[in-house]
């Protein structure tokens, strides 16, 4: 086959892959068509990769090596796809790291390949962007994964002058990039750019706390997409530009949704170091709380007509979703309406709660978004809060001094009665006192979420059996 003919096949395969990628994302809109989206994505990837291999620059001698690399990646990838669903946030962060690594490696290879006079201004610009984005996505995502896996302390790590140091590192990296664009032959600057990008990724994620992880993961998703775009500009490859742009847009939309759900700006998430500012607020007077046993709680819910369950990160940590399902079954059997109120930032990544509850076979019609559930919260008889804290804190609405003031929350305090499952009265991640727990109508059920919810379900099933 002539090189022209092979190139034509490449371009046709890229066109087909592009269309399939767009359909893949479009079919993700609803759970009904979402699995078709995965199939479409697999085909798009297969056709894109197949076309690339046919391309005129690929030597037959390289093919066994390429195949070997794909097989090695696949062997590592399979166990990564079988992690428990509570570990999905760290898996996602880890794969952003791999994406960033691949972009940085390809950028590095291309720079040295073109160093003998083929570095045009634009190529150097695109290469610098690719290496900067790829490098910071790689280390930043590794840091995020480490924090989610709790290898690295989850609390924000801060020190004086942190933002200034971060800006200096980023500024120096950009300065290196600009110097390279002006004079591409100054090759000593390239490793410096690479190292600064890697360092910036670490420093960027260091001060970010666990509750901000949904935003940061979404942002890193966007960066991974943008590094693919930069690679597309380097290699003058339309498929990379398009697929990267789709990802970049996806990550950006998710980050915006997460920021809105916390009433915070990007700047505030990245440079604000959430946990630190709030500690002064804890020193208020401790109001008494009322506590109840799981059986009391079960009795209360049995008397109710409408129950709303508000899950949070605590449910994920305790792996309590299957016990929640048992409770759900017991209540719905009694024709009690049970809905789940899902706050957009509950958990450690966008949509985290939905996936956990879906794993426990809870029909997704009963998973309700915050805005929708808030409208009829006043008609709810019992609210059961499981391991959620800040997302139900009424201080966000009433106390202008609270660090979370202005954040949209689920109006658990409007329900007729509140049951809150919590390990202890220790304040949550941000160290903010939660007035919900000291309300007249609130009963605390202390203990591990899995055990406590399991006991509630058992109390209900025991009674159900005894009646017959």
């Amino acid at each position: 086959m002539s090189p022209e003919y092979r190139e034509l096949i490449v371009q046709i395969s890229y066109l087909i892959a592009t269309v399939l990628f767009i359909f893949s994302l479009k079919w993700m809109n609803t759970p009904k068509t979402a699995r078709r989206g995965v199939v479409s994505g697999v085909w798009a990837m297969t056709i894109g990769v197949g076309g690339t291999i046919i391309g005129p620059t690929i030597a037959v001698e390289s093919l066994p090596w390429i195949a070997l690399a794909v097989i090695v990646g696949g062997i590592i990838g399979i166990p990564l796809s079988r992690v428990p669903l509570t570990a999905v946030p760290q898996r996602t962060a880890l794969s952003h790291a791999f994406g960033g690594l691949a972009a940085a490696l390809v950028g590095t290879a291309k720079y040295y390949l073109w160093l003998d006079g083929e570095l045009t201004t634009f190529r150097t610009f695109a290469l610098s962007a690719e290496v900067l984005l790829g490098g910071l996505t790689f280390t930043g995502s590794l840091m995020a994964a480490g924090k989610l896996q709790e290898i690295i302390p989850t609390r924000p790590i801060t020190y004086r002058g942190q933002n200034i140091i971060n800006f200096i590192i980023l500024g120096a990296a950009i300065g290196c990039g600009i110097a390279l664009i002006i004079n591409p032959e100054w090759s000593f600057l390239f490793p410096i750019l690479l190292v600064l990008s890697l360092a910036f990724g670490i420093m960027l994620v260091l001060p970010i706390g666990g509750a901000d992880m949904p935003t940061v993961i979404a942002l890193l998703n966007s960066y991974a997409g943008l590094s693919a775009v930069a690679m597309g500009f380097v290699l003058e490859n339309k498929l990379l530009v398009i697929a990267g742009a789709l990802d970049g847009a996806s990550g950006l939309i998710l980050s915006i949704i997460m920021c809105k759900a916390m009433n915070r700006s990007f700047r505030n998430v990245l440079f604000g170091a959430f946990g630190k500012v709030s500690t002064a607020d804890v020193a208020g007077e401790q109001k008494p709380v009322k506590s109840a046993t799981p059986r009391d709680a079960a009795d209360m819910m049995e008397q109710a007509e409408r129950v709303v369950i508000i899950p949070g990160y605590g449910m994920a940590v305790a792996q309590a979703q299957h016990r929640v399902r048992e409770l759900y079954d017991q209540l719905t059997k009694r024709e009690i309406s049970v809905k789940f109120a899902i706050h957009p930032v509950a958990g450690r990544m966008p949509g985290h709660m939905n996936v956990l509850l879906a794993e426990a076979d809870i029909p997704y019609e009963d998973l309700v978004e915050m805005d929708e559930i808030n409208r009829d919260m006043a008609q709810v008889d019992v609210v059961l809060v499981i391991g959620a804290n800040d997302v139900v804190n009424p201080a966000a609405k009433s106390n202008p001094n609270s660090p979370i003031y202005g954040m949209p929350v689920i109006d658990a305090d409007k329900a007729r009665a509140v049951l809150a499952v919590k390990r202890s009265m220790n304040p949550g991640f941000a160290g903010i006192e939660n007035e919900l727990y000291t309300l007249e109508k609130t009963l605390m059920v202390f203990g591990d979420a899995k055990a406590v919810v399991g006991d509630m379900a058992k109390a209900l099933s025991g009674e159900g059996g005894g009646a017959h």
Partner: protein
Amino acid sequence: MIQIPILAATTAEITSPAYGGDTLNVVVPLIFVFVLATFIGWDVIRNVSRLLHTPLMSLTNAISAVVIVGAILVAGPQVGDDHPAWISVLGLVAIVAASINIVSGFLITNRMLRMFKTRAPEQKS
């Protein structure tokens, strides 16, 4: 007035190799592609149900592993004087990293989506 080189030159000069080859012919179309693709992405993803944000993220993970295409282009050429072996090795490592994302991204997305069920099966009982 400051003369910006790219504006001072004629079209023929800009598209000549001296200006870095095909700035206009190649780069500008790519920028159009990028802008249009971003708009399409924005519009398509804006409508994704909040239920599916986690699977969406793992799917876009797999899709961004399209960088495997770039990795293959770096690892693929005949190794020789103008394509040192270590360049190909960088490309092969990048292929491994991207393949991890492709395989684990699509598999885990599918696994999660299988869990999303409606109430339909219960109506039988």
